[in-house]
Amino acid sequence: MNRASSILRHRENLAAWTMVAPALLVTMVFALYPVLDSLWLSLHNIYIGLPQLGSPFVGLDNYVALLRDPVAQQALAVTLAFVVLSTLLELACGLIIALVIHERFRGRGLVRAAILIPWAIPTVVASQLWRYIFNDQYGFANLLLFGEQVTDYIPWLAYPSVAFGIVVLADVWKTSSFAALLVLAGLQVIPDDLYDAARVDGATARQRFWHITLPLLKPALLLALLFRTMDAFRVFDLVFVMTQGGPGDATQVLQFYGYQTLFTEGRIGYGSAVSVAVFLIILALSLTYLRAIGSSLLERRRT
């Protein structure tokens, strides 16, 4: 390598770094450092409003307390139920929507725009909307079911399991279209001649779906599952607006519990431990999924 080209190479490396550095800096200051700081804070006892107590280092005490905290255990159970129920329903609805918008028909662009609207609506608006639909006096659900018989109107959100179901419903309504788009991308790469060959061999529509479409959609479905699971674990807006964790603790999810301990009660150390725990659960889950996706991609390549 001569001198001129080595200088050029050097200048290019420098340019590459100046291109990446500002973005990396912002990410580090406002995302990476805060996560590490959360980890650090979770090893201390800090109470907002009680500065005279200082911030003593307590090691893993907050995590030990978290494991024994019945409210946290309940919140974990509610979160897991929410994650499983909502992601499964979203995947099922997403698959149906994707199959519909994959077909060719007139006005398909408009239909695609229509199903994107729930996804684009602010979650806060969607939350208020469903809260209003299930309002005991003015809601659409009661009007539709009971009409004139006002005395039969049901206070839906006052029942723990019904309220939980309504939060799930709102989430499914809001995010099924996102799952549908991921599944659609998977549908579009299935070659048509596979279906033609199956038709020649006399396979029925149902057989084609179960033996061609579904197996080949597996990577796309897993990917949708990954994204939806991670997002469902982070559920906060819906609960904040619709139920505030109630009635009782029927919709008390981990993120909302973390918010309450951190910002309502000002228990910085313990609240940070809750946040870090949620972070670790999500990290473990996504690594598991990514491995599954990786191996399913390999499988496909081999066949």
Binding site: R11, F30, A113, I115, V124, A185, R234, D237, F240
Partner: protein
């Protein structure tokens, strides 16, 4: 025939279920207080604009709109400004530790907001960003950068490299090549990233709730979540504010449906 009937039913069901719930809010926003509170509530509105007027003048709706426009606009501009060069360098240039950078970005996009909420709040407290619109813009930029870089890098990679190689032979440095050759070719990718950042910043609630505590700085999602009346829940005004907050998004979705679809699947499938 059977298949076409099934398809028609499917289209009807998906479109109906997607649009009808929100229609109830739209109808409510044009009702009068009497029509909302009647037992049973009225199906159809008489077409009053009273709730829009009252939301605008008695419930800070105008402030919320202005703040949302400023916050979403600033977030989009800043995030693009940082993401475009970063994505270009990651897609085209040799950087030591490239895989590490990509892994960090992927990791950041999975963070639950709660895991960074406390420290971000303390950081903004230190630098005086609490109760300022720029105080939410900074975390928004940090949290939208990974997706923006991912989408842009995948667009840059698909552009033919010959033009850039030719520019380099003619003595263009990386910055000049990016601005003169690559950017004009990558407008669809930039547009896609811009729309997704814009929608994120317009809709974000959690950080805005923590950082902005006065109606004068709050954005639409915070305003709508904390909507309250003096004695009863003002559903009519809330419906009107919700329609106002959602209308720009409906316009964006109608105009940009194609880019959103490609952007979401690019960010996900290649990610």
């Amino acid at each position: 025939m059977n298949r076409r009937l099934l398809l028609a039913l499917g289209i009807l069901a998906t479109v109906g279920l997607s649009l009808l719930p929100f229609l109830w809010f739209v109808l409510t926003s044009f009702k009068s207080q009497g029509e909302i509170e009647a037992a049973p509530p009225a199906w159809w509105p008489s077409g009053s604009l009273g709730f829009y007027r009252s939301a605008l003048f008695d419930h800070h709706l105008f402030d919320y709109m202005l703040n949302s426009v400023v916050v979403a606009g600033a977030t989009t501009l800043l995030a693009l400004l940082l993401a475009i060069p970063a994505a270009y360098a990651l897609a085209r240039l040799t950087i030591p530790g490239k895989q590490g950078i990509l892994a960090v970005l992927l990791c950041v996009s999975m963070f639950p907001q709660m895991a960074i909420a406390g420290p971000v709040w303390r950081l903004l407290d230190t630098i005086g960003g609490l109760n300022h619109r720029w105080g939410v813009v900074l975390p928004y930029v940090a949290l939208t950068l990974p997706l923006a870089i991912w989408i842009l890098a995948s667009f840059f990679k698909e552009l033919p490299p010959e033009l850039e190689d030719a520019a380099r032979v003619d003595g263009c440095g990386p910055w000049a090549t990016l601005f003169r050759i690559t950017l004009p070719l990558a407008t669809p990718g930039i547009f896609t990233a811009a729309i997704l950042i814009l929608i994120y910043a317009w809709n974000e609630f959690f950080f805005a709730l923590l950082i902005l505590t006065q109606p004068e700085q709050q954005t639409l999602p915070v305003g709508i979540a904390l909507f309250q009346g003096e004695f009863t829940m003002p559903w009519g005004e809330l419906a009107a504010a919700s329609v106002v907050a959602t209308l720009p998004l409906i316009v964006v979705v109608l105009l940009c449906q194609r880019w959103i679809v490609s952007g979401l699947s690019a960010g996900a499938v290649k990610g």
